[in-house]
C-alpha cells in the first residue's frame, strides 16, 4: 500500500516521506506517508476504508473514532506516523464475512442510528467499553460515549443498542 501524489514539481524531494508499518483490521500494511498526514486520512484515502468518517477535525465529535491497540482514538487528531508498529481496528473490521458484530445488530435492533454518520465511531467507542466492561450500566455507557456526538437520535436508543449488544455478548460467552 502506498499513497501516490502527482509529480507536479521538479523538486519533489521537498516533501519528506516516512515509511511506516502497521496492522489494520488484522492485515499487515506498509505505507509511505507525509509526516503531517492525519491517521483519518491514511484510513480513508490511503486504505479506502471510508467507514471512518470525519466530522469536526478537532477531536470533539468522535465520528472518526477507531481503536489503536484496543483503545479508542479520534483519528483526525493522530498522525499516521504515530501508528507505526501499532494495531488499528475500524468499523470495517467489526463484522466477520457472514456474521455481524452484536453491536452492529444492536444498533439496528434498537434504532440506534438515523443518518448513520456518527455510527461507526459510536460503535468503535462502544466496543472499547464492552471489551473492558462486559456488563455496563446505563450511566457507564453514557459516560463512555460522551466523546461522541450524535445529532439525530438523542442517544437514548444508542444506549439501548449498547445494552442489547452487551447482553448478547455475555450470552454467547456463557
Amino acid at each position: 500500500m502506498t499513497i501516490v501524489y502527482d509529480d507536479t514539481s521538479e523538486d519533489t524531494g521537498s516533501v519528506p516521506v516516512r515509511r511506516i508499518k502497521f496492522t489494520i483490521n488484522g492485515k499487515k500494511k506498509i505505507a509511505e506517508v507525509e509526516p503531517r498526514l492525519l491517521l483519518s486520512h491514511l484510513i480513508r484515502r490511503g486504505l479506502a476504508l471510508t467507514g471512518t468518517h470525519m466530522g469536526c477535525d478537532t477531536t470533539n465529535c468522535g465520528a472518526c473514532t477507531v481503536l489503536v491497540d484496543g483503545k479508542p482514538v479520534k483519528s483526525c487528531t493522530m498522525l499516521a506516523v504515530q501508528v507505526d508498529g501499532h494495531e488499528i481496528s475500524t468499523v470495517e473490521g467489526l463484522s466477520g464475512p457472514s456474521e455481524l458484530h452484536p453491536l452492529q445488530e444492536g444498533f439496528k435492533e434498537e434504532h440506534g442510528l438515523q443518518c448513520g454518520f456518527c455510527t461507526p465511531g459510536m460503535m468503535m467507542a462502544a466496543k472499547a467499553l464492552l471489551d473492558e466492561n462486559p456488563n455496563p450500566t446505563e450511566d457507564e455507557i453514557r459516560w463512555a460515549l460522551s466523546g461522541n456526538l450524535c445529532r439525530c437520535t438523542g442517544y437514548q436508543n444508542i444506549v439501548k443498542s449498547v445494552l442489547w449488544a452487551a447482553e448478547k455478548l455475555r450470552g454467547s460467552e456463557a
Binding site: C61, S95, H111, L113, S146, G154
Partner: protein, 797 residues
C-alpha cells in the same frame, strides 16, 4: 366470508415498526457520503475565508499560491465576475456574494478558492494568498443596524439606503387595538431567541464533474433538495437543464443546513468546468459553523390582552430579525418572516396583529429553518413563553389557563388568530395525558414541600401546533417553483417494485417508511420494494426534504401513485378472472370476484399479467407517477412537560422528568416516529441549555468549533418518556399522516425554559434568555432579575 387479505403488519405495512433497511449499510461502514466518493483524476478545493466581519478588500495577491507545486487553479471574486458568477441569487430574492469582490460582509465569508492535487496542498496555498483589508465598523445586531449613520452593509445594491430588508405586517390591527382597550389585564414579554446552527455532524461538500466530451455536468452534493439545486444551476449558470445531474448521496444529517446553495458548490462547479476534471470540496467544521445557514437570531416583543377570568382577547407581536449580510432565508412562503404568524394557533384568540422587521448585519447569512418549518420554532416558543407569563400575571394555574383557551375538538376547522386554517386535533386530551404522566397534582405538592427546604423545583408546560408540509402551491413556492412533491412507482413482472420520490432523506428512514406505504396500499411486502431518492436523472421532480414535508407531501404522492397502480391492476384482475371490472373487489394484496370470494388473483399475479397477459388494447407495463399538491398544511399537535431542579448556588439545572405527547396523526413506522421525536427533544434541550452561537462586538463568531459551540452528549442528555395515545388523523392526507420530524425541536425549548422560570417563582424573574447557562440562572436567582442574552452592542463596555 373469511378474508384472504395479507396481514398488513406481517408484510411491513402501516403501523409496523419495521427495522430500517438503510441500517444494513451504515452499520457496516458502507454508507456512501459525499466525501466517500472518489472519481478518477479528482482534484481538491479549499476555501480562503475572511478573518474580518466587515472590511473593504484593497487587493488580493495570489501569485505565491499559484507557484506552489500541485496547484491547478486559484479562483478569486474578480475571476468569478468575468463569468458573471461573483454574485448569485438567494432563495429569498436577494443576492449573495460567491467570492467577495468589493467588501467582505461577515467573518468567514468566501474570498478565494484553491484547487490542487491534494487538500493539504490546497490548504497550504490558501495560506499563501495575500489579501489586504481596510477594516470597517461591524454591525452585530438589529439595533446597531438601524442606528442613525450606521454604515450601509449592502452598498452593492441599488435602492438600499439603509440596512432594513423588510417591514411586514399581518393580522387585524384595528380589532387588536380595540381588544386591548377592553382588556382587564395586559401581560407583556420581551425575549431574544439566540442564533443557533443546525450543525449536522457531516459538513457540506460537493464533487463537480464536468465532462467536456458529453457536455454533461454531474454534481454529487450534500443537499436536501437536489431538484431545486438543478433548477438553480440551470437558471444561474445558464446550463441546459438536461445536461445537469445532481446526485445527493447519503447525507450525514441536514436539519435545514443543507437546503441553501452555498458558494463552495458554485466554485467547485466552475472549477470543474474550467479544468475539465472532477473537483471535490469538503468543508471543515469551522467553515461550516461560521459561514453556512444559521437559524433564529430574533428579538420577540409582545403583549397579550386578557379578561380577568383568563380568556385571551388579543395578541400583539413585533419581531426584529437578524438575517446577516445576505437575505438568504431558505423559506418557500410568500410571508417575509416565514410562518411566524402561525403563533398562537393552539389557542382560540379572536384578534392578533404582528409587525416584523428584518435587517442586515455583519454576520453569516441566517434564516435557515433549523429543524423547523420557517420561523415556527420562534413562533411557538414565544407563544408558550407568553402564555406562561400571562397565566402567572393572572395568578392562574398553567394547565387550566391553557385548557380554557385551547381550540376545542369540535371547533375544527379553525381559523387561527393570524388566518391559517387548522383542521384537526385533540388538544385538551393530549394535555391530560401529559399531566397524568408527569403526575401534575402531586408534583405541585412536592414542589411546595421542597421550597420549604430551600430546593427549587419547577415544572414547565409547552404545547405546539405546527404548520407542516408545504405547500399548497397557492401559497408556497421557491423561486416560483410550486411546493408539490412526487412519487414514481414501477412494479416489475414478479410483483417486486422500485419506488422513487422527489424527497431526499437525511436519516429519517425514507427507504424503510416509503415501502410501508406501498405495502399498505397494494399489499406488496415492504421488503419487495426498493426506494431510491436523490438523483435528479432518475427521481421525479420534487422539492426535497425539510420542514417535515416528506410524509405530508411525498408520502401522500406515494399513496396516490400506489392507487393509480391499483386501478390498473383491477383491470388486469378482471381480465384474469374473466369478469367485468365492476364485479371485482379489493382486499389487501388481492382482487376477488364479489359473488365468489374464493376466486381471486394476487397483486403479484396482476403484475405478471401486465407484462405477459394484458387484455386487448391495454398499454403494457405497471408503472406510474403521481405529483401531489396538498390542499392544506398538516397540523400536528404536541404537549411537552418537563420537571427540573435548579441549584441556586451554581445556577445549574437538571431535568428530573420529561414527558412528550405527540399527536401526529397516523404513524407509518412507530419506531422511526419515536426516533424523530427523541432527536427533536434533544435539540430542544440543547437550545434551552447550552447551544448558541454568539458574536463579539467586532463581529467575530464565538462558536466556530465544537469546543465553543456546545452540543449535548450522551452524558447530559436527559431521558424522555414518549406517549402516542392520542391519534387525530389528518383529514386531507390520503393515509391520515401529519409531519413529525421537527415538532419536538419546535415545541420543546419553551418547556425547559418554562420549567426553570417556574422553579424561580416568587423571585421576580420573568425571563431568562436561552440558553439557560448556569451563569445566567445564577444571576437571575442571586439578583432576582431578568437576564437578557442579547448580543453586545459596540461601545457598551
Amino acid at each position: 366470508m373469511t378474508t384472504q387479505a395479507v396481514d398488513e403488519i406481517k408484510i411491513g405495512g402501516i403501523g409496523a415498526s419495521r427495522k430500517r433497511v438503510e441500517d444494513d449499510r451504515f452499520i457496516r461502514g458502507k454508507g456512501n457520503y459525499t466525501d466517500d466518493i472518489t472519481l478518477p483524476g479528482m482534484l481538491h478545493m479549499e476555501i480562503l475565508r475572511s478573518p474580518l466581519a466587515h472590511a473593504r478588500i484593497k487587493s488580493i495577491d495570489a501569485s505565491r499560491a499559484w507557484e506552489i507545486p500541485g496547484v491547478h487553479l486559484v479562483l478569486t471574486g474578480d475571476m468569478m465576475a468575468t463569468r458573471n458568477l461573483a454574485w448569485m441569487p438567494t432563495l429569498s430574492y436577494d443576492t449573495q456574494a460567491v467570492l467577495a469582490t468589493d467588501k467582505v460582509r461577515f467573518q468567514g465569508q468566501e474570498v478565494a478558492c484553491v484547487i490542487a492535487d491534494d487538500p493539504y496542498i490546497a490548504k497550504d496555498a490558501c495560506e499563501a494568498i495575500d489579501v489586504e483589508y481596510e477594516p470597517l465598523p461591524a454591525i452585530v445586531n438589529p439595533t446597531q443596524a438601524q442606528a442613525p449613520g450606521a454604515p450601509v452593509i449592502r452598498d452593492d445594491k441599488e435602492n438600499q439606503p439603509d440596512n432594513v430588508i423588510f417591514d411586514w405586517e399581518v393580522g387585524d390591527k384595528a380589532g387588536t387595538d380595540a381588544a386591548f382597550e377592553r382588556a382587564d389585564v395586559v401581560s407583556k414579554l420581551q425575549l431574544h431567541y439566540p442564533r443557533s446552527h443546525p450543525s449536522p455532524i457531516e459538513c457540506c461538500g460537493s464533487i463537480a464533474d464536468f465532462n467536456r466530451a458529453t457536455s454533461k455536468l454531474t454534481v454529487y452534493m450534500t443537499t436536501q433538495a437536489p431538484h431545486i439545486i438543478r433548477a438553480a444551476v440551470a437558471l444561474v449558470a445558464e446550463l441546459p437543464e438536461q445536461m445537469i445531474r445532481i446526485i445527493s448521496p447519503d447525507i450525514g444529517g441536514g436539519f435545514g443546513n443543507k437546503v441553501p446553495v452555498y458558494p463552495g458548490y458554485v466554485c467547485s462547479i466552475l472549477a470543474s468546468i474550467l479544468l475539465e476534471r472532477p473537483v471535490k470540496w469538503i468543508e471543515d467544521k469551522s467553515g461550516n459553523l461560521i459561514s453556512t445557514g444559521f437559524a433564529r437570531d430574533i428579538y420577540l416583543d409582545g403583549e397579550m390582552a386578557l379578561r380577568k377570568d383568563g380568556k385571551i382577547l388579543a395578541v400583539r407581536m413585533h419581531t426584529e430579525s437578524d438575517h446577516g449580510a445576505f437575505f438568504s432565508d431558505a423559506q418557500p412562503s410568500k410571508f417575509k418572516i416565514g410562518l411566524m404568524h402561525s403563533a398562537f394557533a393552539t389557542y382560540d384568540i379572536p384578534f392578533a396583529h404582528l409587525t416584523a422587521r428584518g435587517t442586515y448585519t455583519n454576520k453569516a447569512p441566517g434564516g435557515v429553518a433549523y429543524r423547523c418549518s420557517f420561523r415556527v420554532t420562534e413562533a411557538m416558543f414565544f407563544q408558550e413563553r407568553m402564555v406562561q407569563a400571562a397565566a402567572s400575571d393572572l395568578g392562574m394555574d398553567q394547565a387550566a389557563f391553557r385548557r380554557m383557551n385551547f381550540v376545542k375538538d369540535d371547533d375544527f376547522p379553525h381559523r387561527t388568530p393570524f388566518g391559517f386554517l387548522t383542521d384537526s386535533g385533540q388538544y385538551a386530551k393530549c394535555l391530560d395525558v401529559g399531566l397524568k404522566a408527569i403526575d401534575y397534582d402531586n408534583f405541585r405538592a412536592r414542589q411546595a414541600e421542597a421550597r420549604k427546604r430551600g430546593k427549587l423545583l419547577g415544572l414547565g408546560i409547552s404545547t405546539m401546533t405546527e404548520p407542516l408540509g408545504a405547500g399548497n402551491s397557492r401559497e408556497y413556492d421557491i423561486l416560483g417553483i410550486k411546493m408539490f412533491d412526487s412519487a414514481d412507482l414501477k412494479v416489475h413482472m414478479t410483483g417486486k417494485a422500485l419506488l422513487r420520490t422527489g424527497a431526499r432523506g437525511q436519516g429519517q428512514g425514507h427507504e424503510t417508511t416509503w415501502a410501508q406505504i406501498v405495502a399498505h396500499e397494494l399489499g406488496i411486502p415492504a421488503e419487495d420494494v426498493i426506494v431510491e431518492e436523490g438523483d435528479t436523472d432518475t427521481a421525479p421532480f420534487g422539492m426535497g426534504t425539510y420542514a417535515s414535508r416528506s410524509t405530508p407531501v411525498a408520502g401522500a404522492a406515494i399513496a396516490m401513485v400506489s392507487r393509480k397502480i391499483r386501478a390498473k391492476a383491477r383491470k388486469l384482475a378482471a381480465h384474469l378472472l374473466e369478469v367485468s371490472e365492476e364485479d371485482v373487489e379489493w382486499e389487501l394484496g388481492r382482487f376477488y370476484v364479489r359473488s365468489a370470494p374464493d376466486r381471486g388473483v394476487t397483486i403479484q399475479e396482476c403484475a405478471m399479467a401486465a407484462y405477459s397477459n394484458m387484455p386487448d388494447g391495454m398499454e403494457p407495463g405497471l408503472e406510474n407517477t403521481a405529483y401531489y399538491d396538498p390542499p392544506n398544511l398538516t397540523w400536528p399537535f404536541a404537549v411537552y412537560i418537563v420537571t427540573v431542579e435548579v441549584d441556586p448556588e451554581t445556577g445549574v439545572w437538571d431535568v428530573l422528568n420529561m414527558v412528550a405527547v405527540d399527536d401526529c396523526g397516523v404513524r407509518i413506522n412507530p419506531m422511526i416516529v419515536e426516533g424523530q421525536i427523541m432527536g427533536g427533544l434533544t435539540e430542544a434541550y440543547a437550545m434551552a441549555n447550552m447551544q448558541f452561537i454568539t458574536f463579539d462586538a467586532e463581529g467575530n463568531c464565538v462558536g466556530s468549533n465544537y469546543m465553543d459551540y456546545l452540543l449535548p452528549t450522551a452524558w447530559e442528555t436527559p431521558g424522555f418518556e414518549l406517549h402516542s395515545e392520542v391519534v387525530t388523523p389528518c383529514p386531507h392526507h390520503p393515509i391520515g399522516a401529519k409531519g413529525i420530524g421537527e415538532c419536538a425541536a419546535v415545541g420543546g425549548p419553551a418547556a425547559f425554559v418554562n420549567a426553570v422560570i417556574d422553579a424561580l417563582d416568587g423571585l421576580g424573574v420573568r425571563n431568562i434568555d436561552m440558553p439557560l447557562l448556569p451563569d445566567r440562572v445564577w444571576e437571575a436567582v442571586t439578583y432576582q432579575r431578568d437576564v437578557s442574552g442579547a448580543p453586545p452592542v459596540r461601545g457598551d463596555e
